[in-house]
Amino acid sequence: MTPALILACGNPLRGDDGLGGWMAAQVQEKFTRSQVEVVASQQFTPELAEPISTADTVIFLDCSAKEEPGKVSLQAMAPAEKLPRLISHHMHPATLLRLSQELYGRIPRHAYLITVGGKSFKMGSQLSDAVRDAGPAVLTLVDEIVQGANTLRWNLPGSEQLLVDESELTTV
């Protein structure tokens, strides 16, 4: 079983959307392969359901177009109860968890989505300062989840609520 699976998403040629790949490289450098498996892709695709089903903990990393630039958010994820109207070849993390459950009968004990608010999604491979400055906080969050899920404050997978105070997150 994979102890922790990090699924990072984003297009490296669309400004802050490249956050996923940028963070994936840092996570890969920080941890050993026995601690984490890192998969960076442009979208969360249905094929990820299989590695998700064999992980103890899964962390989805993505940039958010809705959040304030640089704001780091952590959300515990549960399988989606309601499916989107159109489903083709990319999925929300909650939908992917449900696919994992329905295809393989298993989901990770802990599932989280970490997002960072993006500032610019224009063509280009540069991240904004706001997103770049959020990198250490994201890495700290990942570290805490990987190092000891049982000691975490937010160890309640299945809850849709934001489990950590936002102001606290940005200063982690």
Partner: protein, 475 residues
């Protein structure tokens, strides 16, 4: 009273499109149009770039079949370099192209079309997606996910990443294959074989239920085009082009990519951004031909691998000559996956696959070059002109989906005339019209790469549909 029925967007395909059906006073369909409503600019904005950047630039056209663009583009560049690539590089490109074909066909069959096939065209549309398939036949869902992972993982192993890899370059590939990588791919083969055989069984269980659809889903005589290697068999990467007619007679054979423009033209219509390629000798629209899995299997007498050849015989038994019904694109796709897995295993067993010499180098030796490869959806052409310094002066791409454009438009008219009653619409009727398009698995991102003065009609109509004014821009 006549009526216009619009299906917008057409769902479960790559890109954005809509379908318009125009009915007569009795509710019968008289006209059908497949509109591709997006436009991009690849042929134009590459002008002025160094030609050796073209494979990487062109791969960005598509996230599903970037490998096809890489290969066709690299071959066009090699025509400019006037080099022959090392044998190991040619085989490695074959592996990469087959892996892409497998993942793309798996996406088309399992994620996009199997909801119609396994659940039924009239099933509740809330269930017509991969979750519905998983609920009805979980083992088929797992097979689809596994096959797509298999193809994508091979691309990642060989080329570094699954989407937009940069490993294929003019002259060959950037790195040879290692033993560890070869063994990792080989280890995935048995499970992939089991997955595709399971999918074939599932397809054969349900296919008899679709005889009515098979009869009217773009089922008409047309020509078929595809790549053929010198020694026959199914081929995706190298070889020359063959065109056959609707009875199987060879119309053109041994055609090099450089002759494509002499034999084939591209027409434009005001209702879509996608062009309409046609065989020049028969003119437009009589020179209609189809490409892709159905065409490729119609062109060959054997695939060249044992299990796929068993399936090919069954496929050939569907008709006396070429199989004309586009519904059978689905079956052809599954057979090509079988062939792809068997061929990957065969190529990896050859000792020279580990050869370290994988790239030829040269300068600009010609000012024009063309390259061709079989993309999952059919024949893909890249044609470039450069100056003496190798700067791009001009590019033309002829995309697989575009080459099926005429057939798709004729196909939706045929299906709509059979199924659609303009006086009483049902979701099942309209889903069948969309399903005709899905048999071709069109990739609209690829096919609307062009830039420039696109044909356009802007109509001004009043709330009652009365035509008030029109502005037309012809290409």
């Amino acid at each position: 009273m006549s009526r216009t029925i619009v299906i917008d967007p057409v769902t479960r395909l790559e890109g954005h499109a809509k379908i318009t059906l125009k009915t007569n006073g009795a509710g019968g369909v008289e006209e059908a149009y497949f509109h591709v409503t997006q436009v991009r600019g690849f042929e134009k904005f590459c002008e002025g770039r160094p030609f050796y950047e073209m494979p990487s630039l062109m791969a960005r056209i598509c996230g599903i079949c970037p490998v096809s663009h890489l290969i066709a583009s690299a071959k066009a560049c090699e025509a400019i370099l006037a080099v022959e690539i090392p044998p190991a590089a040619a085989k490695l490109r074959q592996l990469l192209n087959l892996a892409q074909m497998i993942q793309s066909h798996a996406l088309s069959f399992f994620y996009l079309s199997s909801p119609d096939l396994l659940l039924g065209m009239d099933a509740d549309k809330a269930d017509r997606h991969i979750f519905g398939v998983v609920k009805a036949m979980p083992e088929v869902g797992r097979a689809g996910v596994q096959l797509r992972r298999f193809g994508q993982r091979i691309i990642e192993i060989l080329a570094g990443k699954r989407i937009h890899p940069g490993w294929v370059v003019p002259g060959g590939v950037t790195e040879p294959l290692t033993v560890a990588k070869r063994d990792e791919i080989l280890a995935m083969v048995p499970e992939s074989c089991a997955s595709i055989l399971l999918a074939l069984d599932a397809y054969k269980l349900v296919t008899d239920k679709f005889q009515e659809e098979a009869a009217v889903f773009a089922n008409f005589p047309s020509m078929f085009l595809g790549l053929m290697p010198p020694d026959g068999g199914l081929e995706f990467t190298d070889g020359t082009l063959r065109l056959i007619d609707a009875t199987g007679n060879i119309v053109l054979d041994g055609m090099e990519a450089s002759s494509f423009d002499e034999e084939f033209g591209e027409a434009v219509e005001p209702f879509t951004f996608m062009k309409f390629p046609y065989y020049r000798k028969m003119g437009y629209p009589d020179g209609c031909y189809r490409v892709g899995p159905l065409a490729r299997l119609n062109l060959v007498d054997y695939t060249g691998t044992p299990r796929a050849d068993v399936e090919l015989r069954e496929f050939k038994a569907l008709a006396e000559g070429p199989v004309l019904g586009s519904f059978y694109y689905h079956y052809a796709r599954l057979i090509e996956i079988v062939h792809g897995i068997e061929t990957i295993e065969r190529i990896l067993a050859e000792p020279d696959i580990l050869d370290a010499h994988v790239r030829a180098t040269a300068g600009v030796n010609r000012l024009e070059g063309s390259g061709v490869a079989e993309a999952p959806r059919g024949t893909l052409m890249h044609h470039y002109k450069v100056d003496e310094n190798g700067q791009m002066l001009w590019a033309n791409l002829v995309i697989a989906t575009g080459q099926n454009n005429m057939a798709m438009n004729r196909g939706i008219l045929q299906a709509a005339q059979h199924y659609v009653d303009g006086n009483r619409l049902t979701d099942g009727m309209l889903n069948r019209v969309e399903a005709v398009i899905r048999t071709f698995d069109p990739c609209l991102s690829c096919s609307t790469h062009a830039f420039g003065e696109m044909p356009m009609v802007v109509e001004l109509v009043d709330p009652d549909g009365k035509h008030l004014d029109e502005r037309r821009r012809d290409a």
